[in-house]
Symmetry: D3
Subunit: 238 residues, 6 copies
């Protein structure tokens, strides 16, 4: 039995609230249990230097944790004048994940800015961010279509993510902080709606992983993502 | 009649939600209409260099706006490597306001970190921050008392704040963004529960202020703060 | 009797030296007693991004203290890679004060850079800065007129500033450092030549202020500013 | 046939030169074809704050590309005042990989600083870095043993890494830049000497990956790593 | 005849005002013609890390130009977040020059902070800085002696500096800006009171220098420094 | 006899390897004994702001030491967010030295970026950098000629550099680290192929220099540079 009473392959309560704030055309509060992330999408009619004149668009993501989102207060990046390295890594992951399901030529020469701000962190913030940011991206893109700026929807597939891991020899789905901090193996999986793998980040810092353990974790994550996609679909229905 | 149907001396709906997140012992979501700020208070058993060995404590505040909190996306401070000047000014104001109602000797050699993170900005974020941060401070201090770290409550008075201004020749209470951006005169007032002035910031960048106009604005702000204090008291009752 | 023998409502010796250095068209050394600030004004034929194409001009101020201007050496901002928060607050105040007496449309699409560098600080540096910067601005604007770049003078009123406060229960005009560091209440007032209020910053960090005390302080500051304006006028006569 | 004539599952020439420079006790030049990385290991008798007093050690890595290591000159991080995000991600990966094969308690309260400086980049710099840094770490640890600072060898297993990917539908081992820039799928695998997985980073930004493709890529990478470990062993023999 | 009517080997008017500001125990305004630099010396009872426990002291210098000190406004270092490279070079020169005439063991484990802030620049700011900073250092050291902190004077010799150069084929002493900007060769010489060379920086960016030209420039600089030392001696007499 | 068995006026083994890496058109590994510097030259079809539209080109240099190039690990600039002051000084020197032998009008409106990255430092890194960077510059310029971008060679003379100094009363050529750290006088000389002086930096921090000692050091450096130029010429012959 897990610390919060879940079965090994059970997700925490996943919930998605659209239009959480009013300025960004995509604004989603996503919860994986006690992990809460505000994911927003703001289109801008400009692209980075390397894309100017190519008629291609871009999706870029920024990830940050509020100082009060962690067990002990986390100092702000600006007070140290350095972007947190872990944040840098995560925001690159979010950006790649969303670009992989977007036709950037169809998006046209504009950028969609994705912001994932963690209000409360109980592990799994990066997978929650990807799961929520996908909805925010869709809402922002639909707003561009409604305004006549885009003709067609450049989002080509859905995307969701989950973390799985091995804790005290047990394979677990959707680790909470207490589990995550003791995990031997930690794996984040990003998949399309059709079950293909977009990103996979596996870390066995505390214990290397056998090949067949990887197979089992992949199976677990696929099942979990199927559940998460259902929550995404329900959110669209609202 | 104002843009949102209010009377000139009428506040927007002010609401205060305690325990909004779970890690900080003081965590408050404060709303002044569509302005929403997460105010948290985290005690730390350390003081800044200049207070070491003095047995006196400190309260320090940080203020920041989420990129998605404004009408057009606001770039993060860390991307420019500079703390926003307006944020610097506001966080100094919040810190002074809370210190003015706290007996720092009684607080003992520890710091209370106040974080005010604006989730959605519709003007008045600094006065909402002070109003909410006061509640977060009280909750954090009570937590210290409950844990036996503090014997007595060092908070000596309550504090609340409001903005008033002159828009198109009309004196208005609690300006929303649409009013604020057109205001000739903008005044932020911080008062104690007993109606004395802690901080007053008046800016007549677009039109200097006559002395008797100041008197009228002070009257308006005192009335408004009386209302806000009622909401604070109700929040404690919950 | 005050530490330097002044009466409660007496200013320190205020003096203004124009053309203190030779490159900036406006270059003023202003002294309020032992407080000495070099205020310069440099026009530039460019405006910030947000004003391009609007045919409106801008006035921006920067404020800094020399490392040797304070009782113990003050480390330079660049050595900490951070603009001092207090400096950030003060330079915003100086900029607003000067813009409030300037017709920015008449100034045309150019910027006037105001630099206030404190050579020696004995309290009141911000009000000395505003008082001196106004003269530097006028000299720079007159230089633009002389060169035929401007036709009319966009400066619409004069501006001066003073600090007042309550120290050991006494209301005092133009606090020196020894008084300022013990003040219960500290108030900076910026007024036009006609006696209207442009900016008012009141801080009662150590003791909240009663309403009638505010009235008395405002009266004191108005009288002091009348004296300061006389010094400004004399400076122009030279 | 690949651009450089290799078979699909063929590594580039991998070579390892120890003692490449004279100050660091571990100093290795590693080449994967035209990719050349200088990997050094410098022990320091200090640990980061969070480990003080725990009698545990730490291994930390920094990764950087020389400005002249890329096809067009890469500006230095210091000129932009920001650590490159990709470098941040890679150096975290290198650090985790080496820590996973080191008993940090046995290392004792000291840090080993790993520096991976890319002299020439032709793709695969992160896997070359890990492969070379392992040798540098071993040399530095042996130096600590020789000096009597360490009694036992805290390195518990060997570690090597390789990149594999899918280019134009073909699965390829050890991509060079020309292949890497066209890859649909890119995967970096870090394994122990015994063939277990330490880290796995898979990116299908341009095309999601089927499960059985992943299986095939894992097989390829395992074979390649077996070859690389042989080169590591030879390097030790010298 | 030179632009300002001087003979080729003639200095501009050199003047030294001690006690220019009141907080630093050494505070000197030095002028070389229109070049004006405020040089101050602040002792601090601390040394940099590398000297702790050695009972040796340190002298460190910082050099900066006020934004208004140059013909067109010079942006502040903090606005670019980078110390100006030329300033970095100059402050290292000033520090070395003063340390070369100070017995750091006799100074004891303390630092003297030298600040050279250029109020107005008309070329020669670095040599004026050294010339003035020497006086400020002496005043600060004498203050330490007067306070009983130092027993003996650790300053072992005097130091002064001058610039010489070749402009339009003419060898000139103490170049002003108009000359300096056209110079083929520019040389800064720092000498002791006894005429020995402490520092020599020669730049022939626009035209390499013949050996016998160097001899002639050295002769000129020695003569000029003899004059400057007289001014220093007079300053002490006041 | 010197620590490494050399005669007082004897250079260490100087060697120059061209085409050390493959992307920069000029890429040179230069060694002065155990001092090893990678010098590269990358042309860019752009000039700094102040040269736009002038049809003149620019040569700019950056100098950096790898963390592992020194006896104890040198922290990276980016980890302190500050360009090392000594590096700032050296890269200015390298840039001036190369510009002094280049006709910038003939170079046309383009920049040549020189990067000098020290792989191993045993004193004399700045003079090795200049000596090697000259070769890299020539190779890059010849590449521009070969590509038809330049018609004529804008490099007008050769340039080489050496350090000389006084150690324990002995005048020595090309100091190694052990000598350099004990030197009373340290002098870096940059000369053209025809023996004229381009740059001269003399530091007598530990002991002022007599005039006739300077003469002797200049003689020594001229002889040494004659030798170094021979190595440069041989390098071209390969």
């Amino acid at each position: 039995m897990r610390v919060d009473g879940r079965k090994n392959d059970e997700l925490r309560q996943v919930s998605i609230t659209r239009n959480f704030t009013k300025y960004a055309p995509g604004s989603v509060l996503v919860k994986f249990g006690d992990t809460k992330v505000l994911c927003t999408a703001f289109p801008e009619e400009k692209v980075p230097q390397f894309l100017r004149g190519t008629q291609e668009g871009w999706i870029t993501a920024e990830y940050s944790m509020l100082p009060s989102s962690t067990q002990t207060r986390k100092p702000r990046d600006i007070s140290r004048l350095k972007l947190d390295s872990r944040s840098a890594e995560i925001q690159r992951l979010i950006g790649r994940s969303l670009r992989s399901v977007t036709d950037l030529k169809m998006l046209g020469e504009r950028t969609v800015w994705i912001d994932c701000d963690v209000l409360q962190a109980d592990a799994g913030t990066r997978v929650a961010s990807i799961t929520g940011a996908y909805i925010a991206l869709c809402d922002a893109v639909n707003d561009l279509i409604k305004k006549g700026i885009l003709k067609e929807n450049p989002v080509t597939d859905s995307v969701a993510a989950v973390s799985v891991g091995i804790v005290d020899g047990e394979m677990l789905t959707d680790l909470c902080y207490e589990e995550d901090s003791r995990a031997q193996v930690d794996m984040n999986v990003v998949m399309t709606g059709s079950g293909d793998i977009i990103e996979l980040q596996l870390t066995g810092e505390k214990q290397p992983l056998k090949r067949k353990e990887l197979d089992a974790l992949l199976e677990m994550s696929k099942n979990a993502i199927t559940e998460i996609i259902k929550v995404q679909l329900e959110a669209f229905r609202d």
